[in-house]
Symmetry: C2
Subunit: 307 residues, 2 copies
Amino acid sequence: MSIVYDRVALIGLGLIASSIFWASKRGNLAGEVVGYARSADTRDTAREIGLCDTVYDDIRDAVRDADLVVLCVPVGVMGDVVAQIADVLKPGATLTDVGSVKRDVITSVTPHLPQGVHFVPAHPLAGTEHSGPRSGFAELFDNRWSLLVPVDGTAPAATAKLRRFWEGLGANVEEMDADHHDLVLAVTSHAPHLIAYTMVGVADDLRRVTDSEVVKYSAAGFRDFTRIAASDPTMWRDVFLTNKDATLEILGRFTEELFALQRAIRQGDGDHLFDYFTRTRAIRRGIIEAGQDTDAPNFGRTPGQKP
Amino acid sequence: MSIVYDRVALIGLGLIASSIFWASKRGNLAGEVVGYARSADTRDTAREIGLCDTVYDDIRDAVRDADLVVLCVPVGVMGDVVAQIADVLKPGATLTDVGSVKRDVITSVTPHLPQGVHFVPAHPLAGTEHSGPRSGFAELFDNRWSLLVPVDGTAPAATAKLRRFWEGLGANVEEMDADHHDLVLAVTSHAPHLIAYTMVGVADDLRRVTDSEVVKYSAAGFRDFTRIAASDPTMWRDVFLTNKDATLEILGRFTEELFALQRAIRQGDGDHLFDYFTRTRAIRRGIIEAGQDTDAPNFGRTPGQKP
């Protein structure tokens, strides 16, 4: 692979930004990759572990000469961040983001966008339950999807170049309309996350089943929910607040369906349950065949780790 | 380790029974381990892969001289199976099961129980999303919990011996009252499974988001739900029908909590969401510290498996 951008600036140095850094070094995709984080602690950690060629204390210095600026901050502050840097963005530069919601980011960023800067919203569908500057790794995006959501008037050449960058990071790239993106993600990510958070919260609340029993016996299924419910709270708060309509729509569907299954349980309708559970099994097979998960039992977790 | 029972009979040859077989051979826990399955296909497969020292075509022949009979059939048929074998069970033998629900199994098995046979209900909290005679492996129970639920009048010596057997299979053993077991499992397993089945069913139903998109972009969170929702449909139908009250109670709590979070989203109450999501993160840490899951990102799944 070869250099796609001379200078890349990463704004916000968490899981995604740090993975972009390590993957772009692995692929030699940028002449230099600089960074900025609002928290001095995060900047110190980044310097300590060699995350970014230069870490700046001032966001404006970080973006000043960048050919690509990647916003890796929570969705709720994207607009404010662009307002801070708009007048120092280099003419001809590309501005992109990695937010999990696209319509809201487009709405909040567009008003601040200077003439001559290409805005190409993006969303890599990759992550882990860990967060912060130490959590990134070069392989995070390998064989995952990164969705580009170009806005009206984006130069096709800018989109094509960002596509090359994401492919160099290891991802498969597809383009998608913002509203469709937000609905697809409500189904595949946002609703499942809220449901996992809810179930883990319920378990935590129950007084008759003590915390330690819930934890001790978690291997019966619950522990998979806790992984999802361990994701970054700030990021997820913003996701739900900014993809409100699609998330609430899917949660409404979910509640309807859950009530139907609860009724089947109450009425002893075993056929309804059996048919439903048989249908859902097929989707798992599709995911394995698409290479998006492992077929190893229990995700291939090693058994028998003694405390 | 040394032999705990001279002759063990496994009734039903799926994931749990086949794992008991391989783990008991690994630990040399039984003189011989025989088996029976209702399906001729399953019996053929078992003979082909060397699962069981002898596979019988008649369930009564399988249990006739057994010192330990392990019922590894769906919870809904436990009573019928015991009715078929009750008069050929050896005096002094121990009868146990591996069902995910305990009160209902006790209620349906007890009336058929002959004098002189010790009934010690049990439940290993271990499993995978795979099922059938080929899915077992010797390590399944390592460092997992197996719960013993002795009934009134069970001889303590019979319980102690079954405990040694489960410890030999790799499990940690604890004793518990049937009703408490059913409530703990409703929280840690039954409710999470129903919720996962529901979410996967909703995704399958949505017409605007095609199947292929849901599958393709599943790495954003959804794929973890599909693992749980790929579990054996017959087993899970019976679990919900027989642990009806506790499951419906927990689902009621879940729905209440979900509605509260939906209201917070609708009203834009970010603090409520942030506090909730912060609290759930701590539970994950407890599970890691208890040795019940891996701290590796994404369960340590290897990235980048190309289709």
